[in-house]
């Protein structure tokens, strides 16, 4: 079993601040992390590898199988994220980096990553499963996973919470997919791309051995020229159909909010005032949901 996991290094969005005057992002001092959703994908990949490596070695008489390759596209510093993934237990890491990838939207990113995955397949054997997180916390689009699947022309399985069964002989995989109203049970052929939902597993703590190995292992670095695509206009800004034209802070409401509560009023006083305000300004509201019996 060969599993590829796509990860992304993202700024820790909970710590991003906007400059109050210029409306620009203040990135200084904001730590970067592996996109949290990608860690669920990585853990699921490691779990499946561990689960099936033994079985495969026994049945296929091929101890070389059972590898997890992590891949990321980004600036050279994204290598840190890959290094971290290696310490968690990934076997190989590939960094896709080139100035010509800059400005990629989700379509161009999907294309570049799918080229990298195709090359990983040529080099290390075709992947059975490709994992991504359900979305990134900086872009939040959830589009790159489906994009990669389409570019590679393989099945996409989005919002998966668990892989329940893998049948190597029939090359099929069973997954649980989370929908708005419940859980869908799906059987799919492999290879496939899975976008992992959050919450059902926790990334392992890598062992000291893994950390030492991670520190020693080299990270493969590929640029545009390595991906074997003649039409370089498919990458970066030129390969991106969408264009961001304007970035702005949302305007405040025309009417500034009524301010209640000052330092010299007691909490109880403020609370009473607030409740009175709500009751007087929203008579419908006070007669409606607020008076639900059993509340």
């Amino acid at each position: 079993m060969h599993i590829v996991v796509c990860i992304k290094q993202v700024p820790d969005s909970t710590q991003i601040r906007v400059h109050p005057v210029t409306n620009t992002i203040m990135r200084q001092g904001v730590p970067t992390i592996i996109n949290p959703y990608d860690l669920f994908a990585l853990e699921e990949a490691l779990r499946l590898r561990d689960l099936f490596a033994l079985e495969e070695a026994r049945w296929l008489r091929d101890p070389s199988r059972g590898k997890v390759t992590v891949v990321t596209m980004g600036p050279p510093m994204a290598a840190q994220a890959l290094r971290k993934a290696l310490t968690y237990g990934a076997d190989r890491a590939v960094l896709v980096t080139d100035r010509r990838f800059a400005g990629s939207d989700t379509l161009a990113t999907s294309f570049a990553l799918s080229c990298a995955i195709a090359k990983i397949g040529e080099r290390f054997g075709p992947p059975d499963i490709i994992f991504t997180g359900k979305q990134t916390i900086d872009g939040d689009t959830a589009q790159v996973g489906p994009g990669i699947a389409k570019c590679l022309n393989i099945q996409q399985l989005t919002y998966i919470k668990r892989v329940t069964r893998i049948d190597h002989l029939r090359r099929s995989i069973d997954v649980e997919r989370c929908l708005e109203g419940g859980t869908q049970f799906i059987e799919s052929k492999m290879p496939c791309l899975i976008t992992m939902l959050d919450g059902l597993n926790t990334i392992r703590r890598g062992s000291i051995d893994e950390s030492l190995r991670a520190a020693r292992s080299s990270i493969l670095t590929w640029g545009v020229a390595d991906l074997g695509v003649r039409d370089v206009d498919k990458f970066g800004l030129k390969g991106s159909p969408t264009v961001v034209k304007r970035v702005f802070a949302p305007a405040p409401r025309a009417q500034k909010s009524v301010q209640l509560g000052t330092a010299n009023k007691t909490v109880r006083h403020v609370a009473d005032e607030l409740v009175a305000w709500i009751s007087s300004h929203q008579p419908k509201l006070a007669d409606g949901p607020l008076s639900k019996p059993g509340a």
Binding site: T158, P241, P293
Partner: protein, 359 residues
């Protein structure tokens, strides 16, 4: 905005809305999108079309067609096939991609549901066109291109995105972000049928089963009339009990911001905002929430927003109706008490009403 549209896209016209079906019922987000699509179509002087896909029912699409016309569609593209019984990516992507290739819409809108996002991502990649996810505002620019606005950078700013060099211009919108249009009684209009050219053997997935959630233990934030939300300003996980107590007292649901979910203080079902649930309650009490854009877009549809925050410069005061500069974890218990002083009276009144009704 200058148009550099290649010639092969120049005959793309009209606005399409993908009508999502949930057990043959129209998902409300599709109706919200029909309302929004109608406005865009009118600005472009174009027609609004709905796209309905599903299993054959004899009679043609059933209530979905009626709904599409009642909420403003001029025509409906209909694809019926046994292969479309359950949502599966391949047949749905094939059907929608083929429809777009043949009938050439200028704009294609989908709901940002799990189904909509799954479908939109692969359709946009197949068509090599732009897709803007989770838009909060859609507009037509002076030159006729779609200006799609969405939060960016983890929710600190908004950005407006254009698709200049390809068609259709695609966007998804989350449920309850756009308001519900009014229903009109209109007869079913023009229907254009399309045959799905695919066989079961070409599809790699099978749906083996479905287990509906036990909804009783899950909050339904999206439909709640009253929501009490809290953010990191609440201080500690233990203070969440004050939020829960207030929510219970006023018959509402408890919500929270993403950092709380990431810290493991609350379940992700309770997350309000761009990546969580969009709420449209009558009353929203936001306690200890600074008000990042991502939270704002999920909550600003509330009729009345009360913000409690000890930072007088918190962005939430820019969109709240009433602001209280105070520590949320101190004010919340006081509010609970103040409301419960009010409650017994109301309940007494209710009882009297019931007694009168029986007399």
């Amino acid at each position: 905005m200058m148009m550099k549209l290649p010639t092969q896209f120049q005959d793309h016209r009209h606005v399409w809305v993908y009508i999502e079906l949930e057990e043959s019922q129209v998902n409300p987000v599709s109706i919200e999108l029909l309302g929004e699509g109608r406005k865009l179509a009118d600005k472009l002087g174009a027609q609004l079309a709905g796209v309905v896909m599903g299993p054959p029912k004899g009679g043609g699409g059933g209530p979905a067609l009626e709904e599409a016309f009642a909420y403003g569609a001029d025509l409906v593209y209909l694809v019926e096939s046994q292969l479309l019984t359950n949502y599966r990516n391949e047949p749905y992507t094939k059907a929608l991609t083929d429809l777009v290739t043949i009938h050439k819409p200028e704009i294609l809108l989908l709901g940002a549901t799990t189904l909509g996002r799954d479908l939109a991502g692969s359709v946009a990649t197949s068509l090599k066109t732009g897709l803007t996810a989770d838009c909060t505002e859609l507009n037509i620019d002076s030159d006729g291109s779609l200006a799609a606005t969405r939060p960016t950078f983890g929710g600190s700013l908004l950005c407006t995105i254009y698709t200049l060099s390809s068609r259709p211009q695609m966007a998804t919108v989350r449920p309850r972000v756009m308001s519900m249009p009014e229903r009109q009684t209109k007869p079913v209009g023009r229907i254009i049928r399309h045959e799905l050219t695919m066989v079961e053997e070409e599809i790699a997935t099978k749906v083996i089963g479905f287990l509906a959630d036990n909804r009783s233990d899950r909050p339904d934030l999206a439909k709640a009339d009253v929501v009490v939300g809290c953010g990191l300003g609440i201080g500690a996980a233990i203070n969440l009990k004050h939020v829960g107590a207030l929510a219970r007292t006023i018959g509402g649901e408890m919500g929270c911001t993403r950092p709380l979910v990431q810290k493991g203080w609350a379940s992700s079902f309770r997350q309000i905002g761009q990546t969580g649930v969009t709420i449209r309650p009558k009353l929203y009490i936001a306690a200890g929430i600074s008000g990042a854009v991502q939270h704002r877009v999920g909550a600003e549809g509330a009729d009345l927003i009360i913000a409690i925050n000890n930072d007088p410069h918190a962005p939430i005061f820019d969109f709240a109706h009433v602001g209280v500069v105070a520590d949320a974890h101190r004010l919340l218990p006081a509010l609970t008490k103040a409301f419960s002083r009010l409650m017994p009276l109301r309940e007494r009144q209710l009882c009297e009403l019931r007694v009168k009704a029986y007399e």
